[in-house]
């Protein structure tokens, strides 16, 4: 193992992956590919890469259009390991690269180790219910990784290394418009307390009770995927789960949440989980610290009364 590539959606994520690469193999030659401009590539050098390429977001094409150029380069240079940010664009690129290289790709891998047997990686199954430990002796191995899996190395602006642009091949997909994400109105990731609402909330009007309770205990309100994406009762940024927000509050209070694995993934780092669900056997009750078997509305009203005393 001597060559590690890092492909990232942005410079901070690249810096994290560079630190990860260095911790997996401290004498590896690290080459970085970063979404951004020349300065971003320079930043990757300062963060510990030996060489860096910048891949600016094209105005009229998708960023994934760099996949063929990356494949071609990977086939020629045969890196041992490619670490990619687990962002949507990079996940797509990771899968395309892996297919053209006939290589394994581990999604959101953790605890990567390299030994004589090859590369060993942990991945999650069933939204975090189980951990799969795999080993591969493939000549190139791809792993997508979270944004905070490693602390970046100290920035050393005096480091020097070649910086260049990666060329973008002609692409069949034309981008006709982009809309920046609306500013976030809630900070679930940083909230100390979160009230979560699930499909047990059968009417949009009932959200008022959940909000009132949240306000009384000083909590933000989040929800499960269907509440945001199917019913659109709450903005998407409020949805907690494997492809939404992952939160670490001191208290998570689940109201009428069934507790499917993909939702639990987003709350598993909560210090205390309380569930109110009329189905005693619900997964959310089983995965809570404390639960009350009751209609969530009745319980929320009783709780509100008790807290206000």
């Amino acid at each position: 193992m001597s060559d590690i590539w890092v492909i990232a959606e942005n410079l901070p994520w690249a810096a994290t992956l560079i630190a990860g690469a260095a911790s997996i193999k401290n004498d590896a030659k690290i080459t970085a590919f970063v979404n951004g401009d020349e300065a971003a590539a320079g930043g990757a050098i300062a963060a510990g890469a030996a060489e860096a390429f910048y891949l600016p977001l094209p105005a009229n094409a998708v960023w994934e259009g760099y996949a063929p150029a990356l494949s071609e380069k990977a086939r020629a240079e045969k890196p041992d390991l490619i670490l990619l940010s687990a962002s949507r664009r990079c996940r797509d690129v990771a899968a395309q690269l892996a297919a053209t290289l006939d290589a394994p790709c581990f999604s959101e891998g953790k605890n990567i180790t390299v030994s004589g047997d090859g590369v060993t990686v942990d991945t999650l199954l069933y939204g975090g219910l189980a951990i799969k430990n795999s080993v591969t002796s493939a000549s190139t191995v791809l792993v997508t990784m979270g944004a905070k899996d490693f602390d970046p190395l100290p920035v050393d602006a005096s480091r020097d290394g070649p910086v260049s642009a990666l060329r973008l091949a002609d692409n069949a997909i034309a981008v006709t418009g982009r809309k920046p994400r609306a500013a976030q109105t809630v900070d679930l990731a940083g909230a100390l307390k979160v009230v979560g609402v699930g499909r047990g909330v059968s009417e949009e009007g009932d959200l008022g009770l959940a909000r009132e309770l949240a306000q009384a205990i000083g909590a933000e309100v989040g929800c499960t995927r269907p509440i945001a994406e199917f019913f659109k009762w709450m903005p998407e940024e409020c949805y907690i789960g494997i492809s939404g927000q992952q939160i670490k509050p001191q208290l998570y209070l689940a109201l009428g949440v069934s507790g499917q694995a993909q939702h639990y993934f987003g709350i598993r780092d909560a210090r205390t989980i309380v569930s109110i669900n009329k189905d005693k056997e619900s997964l959310m009750n089983a995965n809570a610290d404390y639960y009350i078997v009751a209609d969530w509305k009745e319980a929320a009203q009783a709780l509100l009364k008790a807290v206000k005393k």
Binding site: R91, T123, I292
Partner: protein, 261 residues
């Protein structure tokens, strides 16, 4: 537009997984197989695209162990026909193998203009199969699609990414991977379930699509699958017939003690 193919995975329902407290192994005995929930939105996207195409054939495609038993369920969700590849060798296949087999099936069907995959599967959620199939077939890949419209052989697609939304246009052939919010997936009606029995389901084989057993060998070996230790106490405050007010009282006391109220 001749054919639209929707890939679906026949997965075990994870709601019924039990964990052996001693070994931390997963007990899947009570889990029944079902069409992966994410893929139900993919199948419904196929139905809508077929309507917009004015005459394309809509086929469902799957591979894996016991996939023969998936065909009635899948057919009740809209496809005109289902092609399945049921082989024990694919029992624990990863994204690499699954996409090689699905790409092989699509190639052998021929004339597939649009391949629809969903965002991921409820078991592995690796989110790789769509873009992998695209790379293998040398079709463009458009992932995280939240809206689809069709005009002739040109698709207009909305994508949702971390930094915002992107609208793209692409000419068929193409592989699209749709997010669950692309459309609602209705529960099949009795009529649809009955008519599914009359629709064709055809078996394909690895040899038939030109893949050797060697070509579908997993690229990684599984050392272990275990549930991590959890520290959740799961204390039932309603235990012993406690009234709602009693249970809420216990909760308030506990949370106050823990400094959470």
């Amino acid at each position: 537009m001749k054919k639209i193919a929707v890939c679906y995975k026949w997965v075990l329902n994870d709601a019924d997984i039990r964990i052996n407290e001693n070994t931390r192994a997963l007990d899947m005995e009570k889990c029944k197989p079902q069409v992966n929930e994410y893929d139900r939105n993919g199948l419904e996207t196929g139905v809508k695209l077929k309507e917009a195409s004015g005459g394309a054939e809509l086929v469902g495609i799957t591979c894996g162990l016991n996939t023969e038993s998936s065909t009635k369920d899948a057919l009740s969700r809209g496809p005109d026909a289902v092609y399945y590849l049921d082989d024990a060798i694919l029992e624990s296949s990863d994204s690499a193998t699954t996409s090689k087999v699905l790409a092989g099936m699509i190639r052998s069907l021929g004339d597939v203009d649009v391949v629809i995959c969903s965002e991921g599967s409820s078991d592995q959620y690796a989110q790789q199969v769509g873009p992998r199939i695209a790379a293998l077939l040398q079709y463009p890949s458009v992932s995280y699609v939240s809206a689809v419209s069709l005009d002739g052989d040109t698709l207009t697609l909305d994508r949702k990414l971390e930094d915002g939304a992107e609208t793209v246009t692409v000419k068929a052939p193409v592989v699209i991977s749709v997010s669950p919010d692309v459309c609602e997936a209705p529960i099949p009606s009795v009529k649809q379930i009955l008519s599914a029995k009359k629709k064709p389901a055809a078996a394909l084989t690895l040899a038939g699509i030109g893949l050797s057993a060697d070509a579908v060998k997993p690229l990684a070996a599984i050392n272990s699958v275990k549930a991590p230790q959890t520290s959740r106490k799961a204390i039932n405050l309603s235990e012993g017939g406690a009234s709602l007010d009693e249970a809420v009282g216990k909760l308030v006391k506990q949370l106050s003690t823990d400094g959470l109220l």
